[in-house]
Symmetry: C2
Subunit: 336 residues, 2 copies
DNA sequence: CTGGAAATCGTAAACGTTTCCGCTTTATTT
DNA sequence: AAATAAAGCGGAAACGTTTACGATTTCCAG
């Protein structure tokens, strides 16, 4: 269990431990012959540098805190995957925290991460209130958000262009011949306001009348979508397509549609938003608008690295383009 | 950016910084009046203890390395969720690493975690070779595996009883009237050998003849399952049920069955293994054998905590019971 | 009133690095 | 050949804690 330290290899090499440190760090304050000798000795003795001791003096841990509402969520786990890969490629490690359902826990974990001396924090906010919830800490450590929920806040974030996502989605439905499109799902957070906005904008351009069926749910989940759709389908269906605010909602609606024997896409077309991996599954094949999760993650860590390594001040809003993923839940009315 | 240290609050309180440390740590070596005064002062000044400095002296980081092949994988992200929750509840934080597709990267991240001075490692191996791949490190830090791949190795692990899982699954199919059951998928890793074993054992008990359709794939994925099933369905179907070695394989087979217009469960019943969350989706509703991911995760961190905090030597194999999740892909032949 | 135990607090060492400073030795310049 | 620069290395401080040890004070029993 006792690991070998700089002192140990210094003694073995007959040099001071400062020299060993220099040999490892690639400093040019050292002769190339002694460097090689020391490096060889190091892995002979199985030396590995102690990051926590290094952190003590360098004031940098090489740690990035990743806080997500819950990692068992396809969107977040994909983000986490790419973020970790990219971060590690640049010498950073990820400390993972679930911020859980309530703001208290979210605050707790970012406090914890500060105690852990992380160099930066990557956070997908659990609610629009997240910003004020952790505002006290965001000036203590570089932070970038993964959400468009903070439009008017002096915080860095990267996100898809939510508005454009719904915009291109409804345009696509229009091209397919749909003239009565219902927007289904959440509307009351900033992100979802933007999505609704893009839908409205497209409607106006195409001279369609926007129609909403809203939920008061604070969380998009399949079961919430299911419940809401159950309610929706008690009423007559006087529309040919539905734009669901999230894939989860769309999946819930799909289930309710099956219950009600409503054929999708036969009698009703459906499009979602996010392109979580479940949407590609057989028998689902949901047409949807993709959030470029990979790009989001790597751009977020790039942004964070810039803040950390260059001490960049100020904030930047990085908006990524959504793309349409055409699958099997939208019917082309023109080919009738 | 400059944070307040023990010294700062000591100066403000007019005591030595050892006293402040004692006040925070709940030591009895201090008067209750001064303790309260100091504690109040601490959060007035916004003091938070520096974990890396503490780690220097205590030789404990309170960090657990979690290495998974890839976190964007429903099984692993669920494990990660419960592991993080449980770990944090006990004062530990999770350092997340994707071990990627190759053994080299797995070894690299484990080495990295050692440098990071983690107190323990939780690892879901990416291959049966993982054990020898990282054997050099497992005696340097408490390690527990999340896999039944190491039966004969002196390593701690927690896993489902894979053999029992397929055993109860095929018994269930039998009860439903199935007499010709094909086992579909992988067979050549220890885990999958065990699954095949349970199937064979049940077959013998029930006087059925075990039949296999094997893949040489080293990884269970939907697309691999799809390809394999494509091949399978070129031949005549002289069985009434299929036991897929993993849910992923089952999902791929489902797609191939749809392609081939084979009705599931109408003409063919299907059962999977793992109960990844996708299996519960509408239009999928896969009957499957569940791995108790939550229990696995918390038991794994319990085991790890025991090793860390009590220095427990030796190894323990914790086998958890699988449960059958009855959904909609198995037809009851008795109700014909 | 006194002796000693208990309570409270300060001093200092230690953890394993990195890095500044200065010393010696070698190489370069005029 | 002498003066100067540069290269290579050691010494020591510093990072912010915890904790063993020792010193001082308080308190109560005898």
């Amino acid at each position: 269990m006792k690991s070998v330290t700089l002192k140990d290899v210094a003694k073995a090499a007959g040099v001071s431990y400062a020299t060993v440190s220099r040999a490892l760090s690639g400093s040019h304050q050292i002769g190339s012959d002694t460097r090689e000798r020391i490096i060889k000795l190091c892995d002979e003795m199985g030396y590995t540098t102690n990051y926590v001791a290094r952190s003590m003096v360098t004031k940098r841990t090489g740690l990035i805190g990743l806080v997500v509402p819950s990692i068992d969520n396809q969107f977040m786990s994909e983000i986490a995957y790419y973020a970790e890969m990219s971060a590690r490629g640049h010498g950073f490690n990820i400390m993972l925290c679930n911020s859980g359902p309530d703001l208290k826990q979210e605050k707790t974990v970012v406090k914890l991460l500060l105690s852990r001396q992380v160099d930066g924090i990557l956070i997908v906010p659990q609610s629009p209130k997240t910003y004020e919830n952790i505002r006290a800490f965001t000036d203590q450590v570089p932070t970038v958000f993964l959400s468009e929920n903070l439009r008017d806040q002096p915080q860095s974030y990267v996100a898809v262009d939510n508005s454009r996502g719904t915009y291109i989605g409804t345009k696509y439905l229009y091209e397919l011949g749909h003239r009565d499109i219902l927007y289904f799902g959440r509307r009351h957070t900033a992100t979802h306001q933007l999505r609704a906005e893009g839908y409205i904008r497209a409607c106006h351009e195409l001279e369609l009348t926007p129609r909403f069926f809203n939920s008061e749910f604070t969380r998009s989940s399949i079961s919430n979508g299911y419940q809401l759709a159950k309610e929706l389908f008690t009423k007559p269906i006087d529309y040919t397509a539905i734009f669901a605010s999230t894939d989860s909602n769309a999946l819930g609606l799909l289930k309710a549609a099956d219950d009600a024997r409503i054929d999708i896409p036969g009698t009703l077309s459906l499009i979602g938003f996010d392109n979580i991996s479940s949407t590609a599954l057989p028998r689902i094949e949901l047409t949807t608008v993709e959030q470029p999760k990979r790009d989001m993650a790597v751009q977020a860590v790039d942004m964070l690295r810039d803040k950390i390594e260059n001490g960049t001040q100020g904030y930047v809003h990085q908006i990524l383009m959504p793309t349409l993923i055409k699958r099997s839940t939208c019917r082309n009315l023109n080919e009738a």
